[in-house]
Amino acid sequence: MARDYVSRGFVGKRRAPSLANRVPPGQYLTPDFPVLSAGPTPRTPLERWSFSIEGLVREPARWNWAEFLKLPTQSFVVDIHCVTKWSKLDTRWEGVSLDTLFEHVDLDPKALFLTASSDGGYTTNMPLAEVVDGQAFIAHTYDGQPLAAEHGGPARLVVPHLYFWKSAKWVRGLRLTEADVPGFWESLGYNNHGDPWKEERYSG
């Protein structure tokens, strides 16, 4: 609606044209790394940490912290976009590609979706096709340092091409499913898919 609407006297702060094509609609750039979460920051000791893949796989897989760190690590430089409107360019991470993790399980062809689940009970869902082929990773290092707890450490999922709530902090496992099961924010008014370039912020 309201296509002719103009905010009287509004000029705005324009970004450099060279960056404009990297910032999705309705987003602004921040040099900071804001912290957002729905509750207290969980702090699981590393000796009790594990990561599992279960659901529609022939054999579930599980790694403890030491085992997880031995998996092949890659570097990623990605732009991230939070539904609360901030975007941050060229964030630098190290972690394990989901492609690498999936090499350790036999994915059932019926698996079409996954739910990531975290310490503290957080969940988020996405299509399997959108986290393979280099599209997602489990990060344990940010900007050369171990990932801080408030940013999701010891390890978080990162799915840069979706709004950042899909990049579950404190992630502990992935469950492969045939049906799509809405996660935490997806059940509380936020979009089920969350593509920032289509501005899929909210449900409806």
């Binding site: 609606m1 309201a2 609407y5 103009v6 905010s7 009287r8 006297g9 509004f10 000029v11 705005g12 702060k13 324009r14 609609p25 309705g26 987003q27 602004y28 921040t30 040099p31 900071d32 790394f33 804001p34 912290v35 957002l36 979460s37 729905a38 509750g39 207290p40 920051t41 969980p42 939070c82 539904v83 609360t84 409107k85 901030w86 503290g120 009970g121 408030e150 950042f164 709530w165 935490f184 924010w185 059940s187 509380l188 008014g189 936020y190 912020r201 909210y202 449900s203 409806g204």
Partner: protein
């Protein structure tokens, strides 16, 4: 869930809360009742089509039919907050959509006791909860712990004083982190575990907690409450970073 359409609100009043914080009242053509704690997105559009969006918590309670109040802190480097606090006059149109957010919300039906913790302008969504509680004539035991740098930073001071003098089991505690009023005998430090233990003791062992403020304050408060034995599921948080107001998720 009904679709969230953009709509053009009309500014019907403007009120200075402090030197840098202003409350805008918007009449909405497609008003619907929000849940206390929810926010609206504001979209500004320049003549050439350039747009900027931010989220602002609703300060009013859902009992205010047909309009919402947004309380906006002017951020020096802000793009939207400077426009809303410096340029908008009564009668202007502001495009909004909402209400948004389904977790950082409280309604009388959720019960209590209720513990609200605010840092600076983080008090705004909590004020909506207190206004909703008052409109419902609720006597759910409630405490607000409100951290501000100095007396001049307190939002809604008169209303908070009036609400708590109504003898309805609401108490407000201020803590001043930089400058206290002359003769102040209350808290004058950042929120810490012993302060939280003292303020919440009369609420009993368990209560619903909502914490909103700057990241460091929210982190410290939520962590201390869990250390004091509160279940993490009873602590709902909303944070804003150095660049401006943010919202869950």
């Amino acid at each position: 869930m009904p679709p969230l359409d953009w709509q053009l609100g009309v500014v019907t009043s403007l009120r200075d809360e402090t030197a840098s914080v202003k409350t805008l009242t918007l009449a909405l053509p497609q008003w619907m009742p929000h849940r206390a704690g929810q926010h609206y997105d504001v979209r500004l559009v320049a003549p050439d089509g350039y747009q900027a969006q931010r989220s602002y918590s609703v300060a009013s309670g859902p009992e205010r039919v047909g309009e919402i109040e947004l309380t906006v802190e002017r951020l020096e480097d802000g793009e939207v907050s400077t426009y809303l606090t410096d340029q908008v006059v009564v009668g202007d149109q502001v495009e909004v959509r909402g209400p948004i957010g389904g977790y950082f919300v409280w309604e009388v039906g959720m019960g209590g006791p209720l513990f609200l913790v605010a840092g600076g302008s983080g008090v705004v969504p909590l004020m909506a909860m207190l206004r909703h509680r008052a409109a419902a004539s609720s006597h759910i035991p409630t405490r607000l712990l409100y951290s501000i740098p100095a007396p001049g930073s307190i939002l809604y001071r008169q209303e908070l004083d009036a609400l708590q003098s109504a003898q309805n089991d609401l108490e407000v505690f201020y803590t001043f982190t930089r400058t206290s009023p002359p003769g102040w005998r209350g808290y004058a430090r950042r929120i810490d575990r012993s302060m939280l233990a003292e303020v919440t003791r009369p609420l009993g062992p368990t209560f619903l907690t909502y914490v909103c403020g700057p990241t460091l304050m929210v982190e410290a408060t939520a962590t201390a409450l869990v250390e004091l034995g509160l279940a993490p599921a009873h602590v709902r948080t909303e944070r804003f970073g150095p660049t401006g107001k943010e919202h869950s998720p």
